[in-house]
C-alpha cells in the first residue's frame, strides 16, 4: 500500500504529509526549501513552522511565505517548550545531527507525535558494498566520501528502533522506502516485536511515526 502521490512532492515527503492531521500545529526540523511545509499549510491548513540551517533554503522558505527559523537542530531545540506542537517532523536529518539521542528526546518532548525519516545503513546494497569492496559504501541516498559526509551518525533501521526504546517512544506506524523513495507500510508485527527483519535488509530507508510511550 503506497501513500498517494502528491503533486510535486517527493514520495517520502508525501508519506510524511499523510501522517499529519489537518489544522494541527506542525514543526518541520530541517525543512529544506519548505516544499513539505508549504504543502501542509496549503492543503491541510496546518499552522506550520520550520527550522533550517542553510541560508539558501531559509530564503526559499521566506519567499514561500513560511515561518522559518534559521538554526540548528543540535542547539536550538532546547528553546522550544514541551508539547508546543501536535507534530514534529525530522526528515532525513537525524543521521546528520551531532547528538541524535538528544535530538530525538527533544522531538518527543516538543511534539505529541514525531515523524522521522532516515536512510538505512543496514540495506543489503550497503552491506554488500562494504563486504565486496572494503570501502565505505556510497549509495544513491548517501553519495559522499567518508571524510566529507554530513551524515556523521549513520545507523540501521534496527539501530534506530533500539534508540526509540531508549527514549521511551513507541512506534505508531512505520513505512519502508524503496530506491525510488516510494513507501510501503510495515505491518505492526514487524516493528512491535522490537526487531526489524525484512525492512532492515531490504529497505534503503524508512519513516517512523513515534509517540512518547
Amino acid at each position: 500500500m503506497s501513500a498517494p502521490q502528491l503533486q510535486g512532492l517527493r514520495p517520502d515527503l508525501a508519506a510524511i504529509a499523510a501522517m499529519i492531521r489537518p489544522g494541527t500545529r506542525v514543526l518541520d526540523i530541517g525543512c529544506g526549501d519548505g516544499a513539505l511545509l508549504e504543502h501542509l499549510v496549503r492543503t491541510k491548513g496546518v499552522d506550520g513552522r520550520g527550522i533550517e540551517l542553510s541560508q539558501q533554503n531559509v530564503n526559499a522558505c521566506v519567499a514561500r511565505g513560511l515561518s522559518v527559523m534559521q538554526g540548528d537542530a543540535d542547539t536550538d531545540l532546547s528553546e522550544y517548550p514541551s508539547g508546543a506542537f501536535d507534530a514534529v517532523i525530522l526528515s532525513n536529518t537525524i543521521q546528520a545531527t551531532e547528538r541524535p539521542r538528544l535530538v530525538l528526546e527533544h522531538l518527543l518532548r516538543i511534539g505529541r507525535r514525531t515523524a522521522v525519516s532516515l536512510p538505512n545503513f543496514g540495506y543489503w546494497k550497503v552491506r554488500l558494498a562494504l563486504l565486496a569492496t572494503g570501502h565505505m559504501p556510497r549509495t544513491r541516498n548517501l553519495d559522499y566520501s567518508w571524510f566529507d559526509t554530513p551524515n556523521i551518525h549513520l545507523c540501521t533501521l534496527s539501530d534506530f528502533l533500539d534508540l526509540t526504546r531508549l527514549c521511551h517512544a513507541s512506534v505508531v506506524e512505520a513505512h519502508a522506502l524503496n530506491e525510488k523513495g516510494e513507501t510501503r507500510a510495515m505491518r505492526p508485527g514487524t516493528f512491535k516485536a522490537g526487531r526489524l527483519g525484512g525492512p532492515n535488509l531490504l529497505a534503503p530507508g524508512a519513516i517512523f511515526l513515534l509517540k512518547k510511550a
Binding site: 500545529r25 499552522d47 513552522r49 541560508q55 531559509v58 530564503n59 526559499a60 522558505c61 521566506v62 519567499a63 514561500r64 511565505g65 513560511l66 515561518s67 522559518v68 527559523m69 534559521q70 538554526g71 528553546e79 522550544y80 517548550p81 508546543a84
Partner: protein
C-alpha cells in the same frame, strides 16, 4: 496640509527632491511617554513609487540613529545618494515599481521633523534641552499619525535596521492591526548595558565640548563640532567588526612611508575615523544626537509589559521576519533570537534569518545578497498572500 520641509542647513543639491512635511497642530498633539506633549510638530518625509487603488502596497521604512527620510534619493542637504539605495528603488528588493515607500525623519531628528534644534513656538528660541525627551514609541506614534494622514489604514510592511528595527518592533507592539508584516533588522528588543555605555561616551564627548554651551549653542552662535565628531568616531567603531577593520585598514599608514613619532594621524584607520567625524558634523545636530541616543537607551519592549517580551505581542501580531548578522556585536544574533522566541511563545508567524558576514552592524546598509533575497522574498510573500 503638506508642504516643503524646512531644513536646519542649506540645500546644496538644488536638483534633489526635498520631499514633504506635514504639520500637526494643537488639535492633534503628540502625547509623549515622558508625560509632556508637543502641540505643534512637523514630520518631514519622502515617498517613492505610487500608492495603489486599495492602498495595500505601502511600506514604511524606519531610519537608524543618524539616518533620515532620504532613503532612496539624493539628500538635498549633503548632495549624497540616499542611504539605502542598494535596497530601495525600481527593481530593488524593496521595489518602488511595486510598493509605495514612505520614510519619515523621526521626531527629535534634525532633517525637517521637529527636534531640539527647532524653535519652540512658545519662546521663539530653539528648544535646546527644553525639548522633551522622546522615545522610540513616541517616534512610532508620530509615524502612525503620518500614515493615517496619508489615508493608509494598513501598511503592507514596516522595515528598518538598527534603531529602525526597534521602531519596526514597536509598530508590531503598538499597532498590530495596522501593519501586515514587520522586518526588524540588526536590532534588539532592548538596548544592552554595553550599547548604553557607548552612547554615554558619545553624549559626554558632546557635553564636554565648551562650544556645546549647556545645549544653547544655537543662541550663542557656536557649534560643538569637536564633541560631536568624537561621538561619531566612537560610535562608528561599534558599527564595524574587528575583521572588517583589519581587512579594510590593517596597520596601513596614511600618506607616509614611516611612523611620524607624532600624534598626527599615522594610520589609515585614524584618518578614516577623522573623516567620519568631520563629515558627520556638517549634517547632524549635536542635541539631536543626545536625544535620539537617549531614545534608543530607553528602548525596552519587555519593560513596557512587566518584563515579558512575549506579552508585547498579542495573538493578532503581524508576520515577522527578523534578520541578524553573524559579526554584529552591537546587536548580536542572540538578541534577535530572543525576540523570535518571544514571538514563538505567542504562536506568532515569525521567521528568523542570520546572515553570515564579517561586515558587522553596518552590514544592513551594505551589499549583502542573502539579505536582499530575504527582504525580497518576505515582501513578495506578504504582497501575494
Amino acid at each position: 496640509m503638506s508642504e516643503a520641509p524646512k531644513f536646519l542647513r542649506p540645500v546644496t543639491a538644488p536638483g534633489a527632491d526635498v520631499g514633504h512635511a506635514v504639520h500637526f497642530g494643537p488639535d492633534r498633539p503628540l502625547a509623549l511617554d515622558c508625560g509632556r506633549s508637543l502641540s505643534h510638530f512637523t514630520i518631514a518625509y519622502m515617498t517613492y513609487g505610487a500608492l495603489n487603488a486599495d492602498k495595500s502596497n505601502a511600506v514604511l521604512i524606519c531610519h537608524a540613529l543618524t539616518g533620515d527620510q532620504f532613503v532612496a534619493s539624493d539628500n538635498p542637504v549633503t548632495g549624497k545618494p540616499g542611504w539605502w539605495t542598494i535596497m530601495v528603488g525600481p527593481g530593488k528588493p524593496i521595489d518602488t515599481d511595486r510598493f509605495f515607500v514612505i520614510c519619515a525623519n523621526v521626531v527629535g531628528g534634525c532633517m525637517g521633523s521637529t527636534g531640539p534644534a527647532e524653535n519652540d513656538p512658545a519662546t521663539g528660541d530653539p528648544y535646546g534641552l527644553s525639548f522633551p525627551l522622546v522615545t522610540v514609541r513616541d517616534m512610532v506614534r508620530a509615524q502612525a499619525m503620518l500614515v493615517e494622514q496619508l489615508g493608509i489604514a494598513k501598511l503592507l510592511a514596516v522595515v528598518g535596521g538598527s534603531m529602525g528595527g526597534m521602531q519596526a518592533l514597536q509598530w508590531a507592539a503598538s499597532y498590530p492591526g495596522r501593519v501586515r508584516g514587520v522586518m526588524p533588522i540588526a536590532c534588539a528588543a532592548r538596548h544592552s548595558a554595553q550599547n548604553i555605555a557607548f552612547h554615554e561616551v558619545g553624549r559626554q564627548a558632546i557635553m564636554a565640548d565648551p562650544d556645546w554651551q549647556g545645549g544653547e549653542y544655537q543662541l550663542r552662535g557656536t557649534t560643538p563640532s569637536k564633541g560631536l565628531a568624537v561621538a561619531r568616531m566612537a560610535a562608528h567603531i561599534t558599527y564595524l567588526s574587528e575583521a572588517a577593520l583589519q581587512r579594510k585598514f590593517g596597520r596601513t599608514l596614511q600618506n607616509r612611508e614611516a611612523l611620524s613619532f607624532k600624534f598626527a594621524p599615522d594610520f589609515q584607520i585614524e584618518s578614516y575615523l577623522h573623516h567620519q567625524g568631520a563629515s558627520f558634523v556638517d549634517r547632524f545636530d549635536a542635541n539631536s544626537y543626545l536625544y535620539i541616543t537617549r531614545a534608543m537607551d530607553y528602548f525596552d519592549l519587555a519593560a513596557d509589559h512587566d518584563g515579558h517580551l512575549a506579552a508585547a505581542f498579542g495573538a493578532n501580531a503581524p508576520r515577522f521576519c527578523i534578520i541578524s548578522f553573524t559579526s554584529d556585536w552591537l546587536f548580536p544574533t542572540a538578541e534577535s533570537k530572543s525576540i523570535a522566541h518571544a514571538l514563538n511563545a505567542v504562536a506568532a508567524n515569525v521567521s528568523f534569518v542570520e546572515i553570515k558576514t564579517d561586515k558587522g552592524h553596518d552590514a544592513f546598509l551594505l551589499d549583502e545578497p542573502e539579505m536582499f533575497g530575504t527582504v525580497r522574498g518576505f515582501l513578495n510573500a506578504l504582497a501575494g498572500a
